[in-house]
């Protein structure tokens, strides 16, 4: 129940005029508007006609690029590959990020917590090229990972990580872990520890506590982390380019090549638009899932 004081405080907040709220949004709105305009022109470009055999875009409207995308099996295949690999990255990323987030949310040692947090922030600080370079060193045929596996007797022949999906997936998973982990810390922290204790007190094993209490209660957070991770993986460009060595490609790489190698702007626009529609669809589905998860919890 609201006390009179709380009610007054709420009322005070509500009296901030919408006018001033809009004012503080102005700079951001301007940037967003500019970006959307340029994105819009790219989408419009996808409906333009290209003079066959040239790099000239005519002024005519045409669905030729879309027809081409779906006629040639290779492009839907690339789209499918991109979606499929993004699912892989999302699942692996969540699987690895969850324990990290749980540790940060629950560890009583401030030092360890900060160490783990720092380790999580580093990939965000150093940037893509450094990450790629590090993984090139680690994943080579004579790299640290293969050497280690060989020394342990797990493999005889080196595994071909580089210029294959394996290396790209490993690197992408590494890249998305911090995003997933950071968005999971809050939801995990919001599960009162006494709930876990109550379950243990009732005789639940650690695994049962996780499956029956922590996991369902953090489901909204997991869905949120998943949609973030999935979007990141879907738009991956640098890692497949550098570690795929031209052998494995995701949609962004194809779009890049279409722009800078064949100069086919309408077709690049087509692919970008299709990728955008798919991404939005995924985010919408995830958001609906998340709402359902929340409703189950708060009912």
């Amino acid at each position: 129940m609201k006390t009179a004081r709380q009610a007054r405080l709420t009322a005070d907040f509500q009296t901030i005029p919408t006018r001033s709220l809009v004012l503080i949004l102005m700079p951001t709105l301007a940037i967003i508007a500019l970006f959307l305009a340029s994105y819009g022109s790219f989408i419009l470009m996808s409906f333009r006609e290209m003079l066959p055999g040239t790099t000239t875009v005519t002024g005519n409207w045409s669905l030729a690029s879309y027809r081409r995308f779906f006629r040639d099996a290779v492009y839907p295949y690339f789209l499918f590959q991109t979606l499929y690999r993004a699912v892989q990255v999302t699942l692996l990323g969540l699987l690895l990020a969850y324990p990290l987030a749980y540790f940060v949310a629950r560890s009583s040692s401030k030092l360890l917590r900060q160490l783990v947090m720092t380790a999580m922030i580093i990939p965000l600080l150093v940037g893509g090229i450094t990450i790629v370079y590090s993984w090139l060193v680690l994943l080579g045929n004579a790299g640290l990972l293969n050497a280690g596996l060989k020394a342990l007797g797990i493999i005889k022949q080196p595994i071909r990580f580089l210029f294959s999906w394996k290396g790209v997936i490993i690197c992408l998973v590494y890249f998305v872990i911090p995003y997933a982990a950071f968005s999971l810390i809050g939801p995990i922290r919001n599960v009162p520890r006494t709930l876990e204790e109550a379950a243990v007190n009732m005789g639940a094993s650690k695994l049962t506590v996780f499956l029956r209490v922590v996991l369902p209660l953090t489901l909204p957070g997991i869905v949120e982390a998943a949609s973030l991770t999935y979007s990141l993986a879907l738009s991956a460009f640098l890692f497949p380019m550098m570690l795929g060595g031209g052998k494995v490609k995701m949609m962004s790489n194809i779009i890049y090549e279409t722009i800078y190698v064949t100069f086919d702007f309408p077709f690049a626009g087509t692919m970008a638009t299709i990728l955008l529609v798919v991404s939005i669809a995924v985010v919408v589905v995830m958001t609906l899932l998340q709402r359902t998860a929340r409703r189950v919890r708060s009912d």
């Binding site: 006494t194 204790e197 109550a198 243990v200 007190n201 009732m202 639940a204 708060s298």
Partner: protein, 373 residues
């Protein structure tokens, strides 16, 4: 070996967090079916002791026995004790039924047994019709009853209540205290109850252990602790508002003659040993008798069971059914006196001169060690 008839025993329990000593040599035994309360301020170690029994905290030293079994090395999930938390800690994503049946599911009982047992305990807490509700749809008091039903359902070897009424509003709390106590007596379940509220401890307990700074300060029946606190801390914590330094003149068997001030002597019964330099006389505000006219100073004479001294009303607190007066004595000490408003003749105003009368039987004496402060 555990003592006869004791369901729960702490033997010489110490707990260190780093160099901080949370518990110092705590030994407590709880009889079968008894409700024992750990009473003390926050940080006194009472919750740590409860969590040691639940298995969430390992004692640094000492033993914990539960129903004749040494449980030091038994993991919390296998102890079969029912812990009720202050914030209820119901699973928000499960219905009342699923919450209550959780422990039974963990014990892999068949569906029919679970159904029957849940129904029984929900009937016990009068919430059978809410089986399909979610905790957030229930009031605080109802949630607390569900939390209770959840732990009772597993037929625990002991019930552990950790400040269970802390989050409930006053009026409901009084109801819940009585209800929980009745339920506990009906089921005959051995119970460890933790609270910082002396009123609650008096209402609920068979026996009270007052704790302070990780140590047991005093242990006894509720009213005997209320009437005869043995340390300044216990006296203060149980609402003995008046603590006066006095001089012990002589002892007469189980009684001592003390001097409050020049010419005011009082015979006070002795509960136990009285060793130490500084002796404190403690009594409750409601045991101080006020009379309208000034007596004109202490009258010298033989010490008796009654003593009267003059005083001046310094401050008045109206509580409705009663009034609390702060009265200044001739030597400067301030006394708290409480008067029921049944006798309108005994209403005083600020600055009024009056006579303060104390009865020795209403007072307790204790010696203060330097460390007790």
């Amino acid at each position: 070996m555990p003592g006869e008839g004791f369901d729960i025993e702490f033997k010489g329990v110490h707990k260190f967090y780093g160099t901080l000593e949370a518990l110092h040599d705590v030994s407590i035994s709880i009889r079968r079916g008894e409700l024992l309360t750990l009473l003390g301020p926050s940080g006194c170690g009472k919750t740590t002791l409860l969590r040691i029994l639940a298995g969430f905290v390992r004692p640094t030293q000492g033993e914990v026995w539960l129903a004749g079994e040494r449980v030091n090395d038994v993991p919390p999930a296998k102890r079969n004790v029912g812990l009720v938390f202050q914030n209820y800690s119901l699973f928000p994503h499960m219905t009342v039924f699923d919450n209550v049946s959780f422990g039974l599911q963990m014990r892999h009982l068949d569906r029919a047994t679970i159904q029957k047992r849940v129904q029984e305990v929900l009937e016990l807490v009068h919430l059978l019709e809410y089986a399909r509700a979610y905790p957030s749809q229930l009031s605080g008091g109802m949630q607390q009853r569900i939390a209770l039903a959840r732990v009772i359902s597993i037929q625990p070897r002991a019930l552990l209540l950790d400040e269970p009424f802390g989050a409930i509003d006053r009026r409901l709390r009084d109801e819940m205290q009585v209800e929980v106590r009745k339920l506990q007596q009906k089921l005959g379940i051995t119970t460890l109850f933790v609270t910082h509220d002396q009123q609650e401890a008096l209402i609920m307990s068979d026996r009270i252990v007052v704790m302070n700074g990780g140590r047991v300060e005093q242990e006894g029946m509720p009213l005997s602790i209320y009437d005869a606190p043995r340390t300044r801390f216990v006296a203060g914590f149980l609402g003995m508002d008046n603590l006066l330094p006095v001089q012990v003149l002589r002892r007469e068997g189980q009684r001592a003659v003390v001097r409050l001030m020049e010419g005011a002597e009082l015979i006070v019964p002795l509960a136990g040993e009285l060793r130490g330099e500084r002796i404190t006389l403690a009594f409750r505000a409601e045991c101080v008798c006020l009379a309208g006219a000034a007596s004109g100073g202490p009258r010298p004479g033989p010490a008796s069971n009654l003593v009267s001294v003059p005083g001046t009303v310094e401050f008045i607190t109206n509580l409705g059914s009663r009034v609390v007066y702060e009265v200044r004595l001739p030597d400067g000490a301030i006394l708290c006196a409480q008067a029921q408003r049944t006798d309108r003749a005994k209403e005083f105003i600020r600055g009024q001169q009056l006579t303060v009368t104390l009865k020795g039987d209403h007072c307790v004496l204790f010696a203060e060690s330097g460390a007790g402060e």
